[in-house]
């Protein structure tokens, strides 16, 4: 049984506590939205789960593999504020690079997508005919969507998406909703933050305000 487990995760930056004892677990197939005011630590928690940050206390594990571990990373797709799209490269080249390192990350499969797969994924995010245009000629929104095209290919069991809907139009949001839903139905687990309104069936919410640390320490 695949399950993401947050075990009493606390984080403080330079002795200033951000959240304490976040406790949660979700089975495979869940779609979870992190909520909280600006500065509540949504991005921080996502980065902790991804293993980019070390929690001050507590543990994160996916399928009993601790975060940051090789077997954890090989199941992970993480999309941060900066999506890792090279401006001097074309969308196609960017996707090729990403999947050359990551592969599809499907269960037991080290396959990479093929060229038609890349083109299709780019078409899904509205970049048909832009496959070979260097990204610096694309708008900020279009560059962002190059990264989103990864979602239409990746089979990674755990998706961590930081503001995936930024700079995406209504139609694009609908397509993403559909894709996220489909991924969850296939047994994927999706954690995301967003400021935009969106709808999927069975959305769970983790409100970080509940774990807000009280100012002074003992």
């Amino acid at each position: 049984m695949q399950q993401l487990l947050l075990d009493k995760v606390s984080f403080s930056r330079d002795e200033v506590p951000l959240f304490t004892d976040v406790e949660a677990s979700w089975p495979a197939g869940s779609i979870v939205q992190l909520q909280g005011a600006n500065g509540a630590g949504k991005t921080t928690l996502l980065r902790i789960i991804a293993g980019l940050l070390r929690p001050s206390a507590g543990r994160v594990s996916f399928n009993e593999v601790p975060s940051g571990h090789y077997d954890f990373l090989s199941q992970l797709l993480y999309l941060g504020h900066q999506p890792g799209v090279k401006r001097s490269m074309t969308p196609l080249e960017n996707l090729r690079w990403y999947f050359a390192l990551n592969g599809l990350k499907g269960v037991q499969s080290s396959a990479r997508p093929d060229e038609p797969g890349y083109v299709q994924a780019l078409a899904k995010v509205g970049l048909r005919h832009y496959e070979d245009v260097p990204c610096y000629q694309l708008s900020a929104g279009q560059q962002r969507r190059v990264a989103l095209a990864r979602l239409f290919l990746s089979e990674a069991p755990l998706w961590l998406l930081d503001e995936p809907f930024t700079a995406v139009d209504v139609h694009g949001v609908a397509l993403l909703e559909e894709r996220i839903q489909a991924h969850a139905e296939q047994g994927g687990l999706v954690l995301l933050t967003t400021h935009q309104s969106w709808r999927v069936a069975g959305l769970e919410v983790l409100d970080l305000e509940r774990f807000k640390a009280s100012g002074a320490r003992g």
Partner: protein, 230 residues
């Protein structure tokens, strides 16, 4: 659950190709260290003396120091762009070996700075009246020496990667670490210039290169992770 990633070899090849393509597309950044390397040489005769006998003595050390400065100036872009656009975290979260990724990046950086510097160095040797016997040694010492400089410098570049204006700081922290490479690199060329045997000295430079190649990526990787946790 493991074994669902692309094989390390194919990932490394892709990384290598990607890095090379990136270097080729940012050509102006590529030329700058080389232009610096060849243009600053004008200062030497103008600032010191144009007399061949004098320049001859100066040449081995001068070419080495200028090469070292060129590498130093090129270092801040090894990881900077990748850090800022998120490619770095994507690469490190892919599950591929971080050591290999850093190794590939620095190797490509050397390929596009250290190697051209090595190839250009005879021109500088001629302009500084370097004796004919020393050219082989100059190129060999710079071939390995610039590799060592790139790898040692990568640690500094990684340490300062999240700092907006890290360039000068990077030089400050790396200069002391460059001392041994400079001593043995220019020492070998000096020996060659006066017809002495330089094999043992050159071997030390190769040893530095090997040690830096093996150890520096670990330190750089650790430093990058610290900066990503900012």
């Amino acid at each position: 659950m493991s074994g669902n990633l692309p094989a390390p070899g194919s990932a490394l090849r892709a990384m290598f190709r990607h890095e090379c393509a990136l270097q080729l597309r940012n050509r102006s950044e590529l030329y700058n260290p080389l232009l610096f390397f060849t243009s600053i040489i004008v200062f030497v005769p103008l600032g010191i003396s144009p007399e061949a006998g004098f320049l001859k003595q100066l040449a081995p050390g001068m070419v080495w120091i200028i090469a070292l400065l060129s590498v130093l100036l090129s270092l801040d872009r090894v990881f900077q762009a990748d850090f800022e656009d998120g490619s770095l975290e994507q690469a490190l979260l892919s599950g591929q070996s971080g050591y290999m990724l850093v190794l590939a990046k620095v190797l490509v950086h050397w390929l596009f700075t250290g190697l051209p510097l090595t190839l250009l160095s005879p021109v500088l040797g001629i302009m500084l009246a370097l004796p004919a016997e020393a050219y082989g040694c100059l190129m060999l010492s710079l071939f390995f020496g610039s590799g060592a400089l790139c790898f040692i410098g990568a640690v500094g570049a990684a340490l300062t990667v999240s700092l907006r204006r890290g360039g000068l700081l990077l030089s400050l922290i790396i200069i002391p670490l460059y001392v041994p490479v400079l001593i043995f690199g220019s020492g070998a060329v000096s020996a060659a210039a006066i017809g002495d045997s330089y094999g043992a000295t050159l071997a030390v430079v190769v040893a530095f290169w090997l040690a830096a190649l093996m150890l520096a990526p670990f330190a750089a990787l650790g430093a990058l992770k610290i900066n990503l946790a900012e």
